[in-house]
Symmetry: C2
Subunit: 315 residues, 2 copies
């Protein structure tokens, strides 16, 4: 065989390739990955950002899966090596021809060309499953709501948008539980930020009060300094607390209460924004948008923190 690797290397296009900043948003189904992603793409602008979902890399369609002893959550049900390959390609600034899974029909359809932009957001069930996928990211997030919150979200979405009955959704959740435990939840320990949207225990908030959130900020990346801002004054609705992670290691826990008045969350938003050193105006006002006209301060702060990391990584 001739010196083919060298031949290939010499033939590669000479244009300097810019590597995009890569963000992973991992979590079980119906944990809010798409809502979080949408707000980020909107804030960054679609001309600068691309988002993909690794659930498109299903190896089998819905019909075929019925015959199989595992669910769509199982790594064997997904082209994991191709996910690794495509993430490497995107991370090095190259386009991919991404497979497409149609959640409506449950079929695998015609693939789609994805050109990496400045920011690539990768959401899905298993983006942090292997050492190699994890190595492709600059920032990693795991969405970790309590199971009862997730169940409620999943029932709402799958009955309203995907044509399932409540019983079907509950049966599916039960069937998936062992694989959630084995493959999805272990990704939690690989995230730089773990976000838990949940009601606050013991409070008797009126129905419709937005959920609160706890953001674990692991020192695996350099977070903006919020300690100074939040220690001033009497901020009970938003506060930062030194804590121990599940494995005993030190971590910052940012608590944002759902009833937090807009003025309090604005203090945090502006602090993060100003630490970015961008002097131009206020944080994007599309942050925190839920379905319809609802707004969540905890979501807005999560998104702003991620924007901080994405923009910071371009420097």
């Amino acid at each position: 065989m001739p010196h083919k690797l060298m031949q290939m290397q010499r033939a590669v296009h000479q244009a300097p390739v810019r590597r995009p900043v890569m963000l992973a948003i991992a979590g079980d189904s119906a944990t809010g990955k798409t809502t979080l992603t949408k707000g980020l793409v909107q804030a960054l602008g679609p001309e600068r950002s691309t988002s993909i979902c690794v659930d498109d890399y299903h190896r089998y369609d819905r019909q075929e899966r019925k015959e199989l002893p595992f669910t769509a959550l199982h790594p064997d049900c997904n082209y994991v090596r191709i996910i690794e390959q495509h993430l490497q390609l995107l991370a090095t600034g190259q386009p991919i021809l991404k497979p497409v899974y149609d959640h409506g029909t449950g079929q695998l359809t015609r693939p789609q060309l994805i050109e990496p932009r400045d920011f690539v957001i990768v959401e899905g069930l298993l983006p942090l499953h292997t050492t190699l996928t994890r190595a492709c990211f600059d920032v990693t997030v795991y969405l970790n709501p309590p199971e009862e919150v997730r169940r409620e979200w999943k029932i709402k979405r799958d009955t309203q948008k995907r044509g399932y009955s409540v019983d079907q959704v509950l049966a599916e959740l039960k069937r998936r539980e062992p694989e959630s435990e084995a493959f999805i939840r272990p990704q939690r320990s690989s995230a730089d930020i773990v976000v838990r949207f949940a009601p606050i225990a013991g409070r008797d908030d009126p129905p419709g009060t937005p959920l609160s959130a706890e953001l674990l900020l692991r020192p695996t990346i350099r977070h903006p300094d919020l300690n100074g801002v939040l220690s001033k004054g009497d901020r009970r609705a938003i506060h930062l607390k030194l804590a121990r992670d599940e494995d005993g290691r030190p971590v910052d826990a940012l608590h944002v209460h759902g009833y937090a008045p807009r003025e309090e969350s604005e203090v945090v938003e502006k602090a993060i924004w100003s630490q970015l050193g961008v002097d131009v105006g206020d944080p994007p006002d599309t942050l925190g948008k839920l379905d319809g006209t609802d707004r969540s301060e905890p979501l807005a702060i999560t998104q702003l923190l991620l924007l901080y990391h994405l923009l910071e990584a371009t420097r």
Copy 2:
């Protein structure tokens, strides 16, 4: 951004990767690429060989192409950068998720996992179109029948297997001609071997006589030494002739006449086979197979020569 490239490199699977031997078979539509490929896969064994068709990388389906000012032959009608990427991946021993174009329906469908085996045969309209695709191959072939032969083949195939009328095929050939000239035929100059199946001018062979072939053997790769074998005795049905290529450079032209008796072509086949240094038996007897039970000695010799190069490249 952290040292992500290093991170990724360190995370790559450690198993030593074997690089497959790669063969390109380029040519216009209905030049016999599939027939040639099938015989090679059969001879090598499907467990050791994979074949793919780069026409699967069409950017638009048949319906969409109707609105476009170019045909499927145009590079803009194909994901050329993805072809380059996938050939590089295969050439370095990595799997790909290959798009699939359904010639029956004219639609792009669910992609297919291709794992490289010892030998990868890549056929299609544009496998030699760019410097980078060419760099991925160990051996390259261009099929170059006269246009009247190709027209006949295309009418036969497209009316019998793809449901077109003769007039539709002729109109399509006319529409494609400028792009054949601009993009397909220039690949001829990049091939190590140019194969021209054609009747011999001036001979009045009975109908049904297999076509003859001229194989240009360019010194861009090291061909088996046939000169010694073929200069002995009076071989008019098969002979090797020193010639000048279109651009004036020296080249060997191997002529195999369609009426060549099996004994004469066996001499060449055995000469090629013995130069491989494999002592085990005779050349595979599936070589030269056409549709049905027909057999072509020129095709058999072409395939054997390619087998020689493929096996030689593994050493």
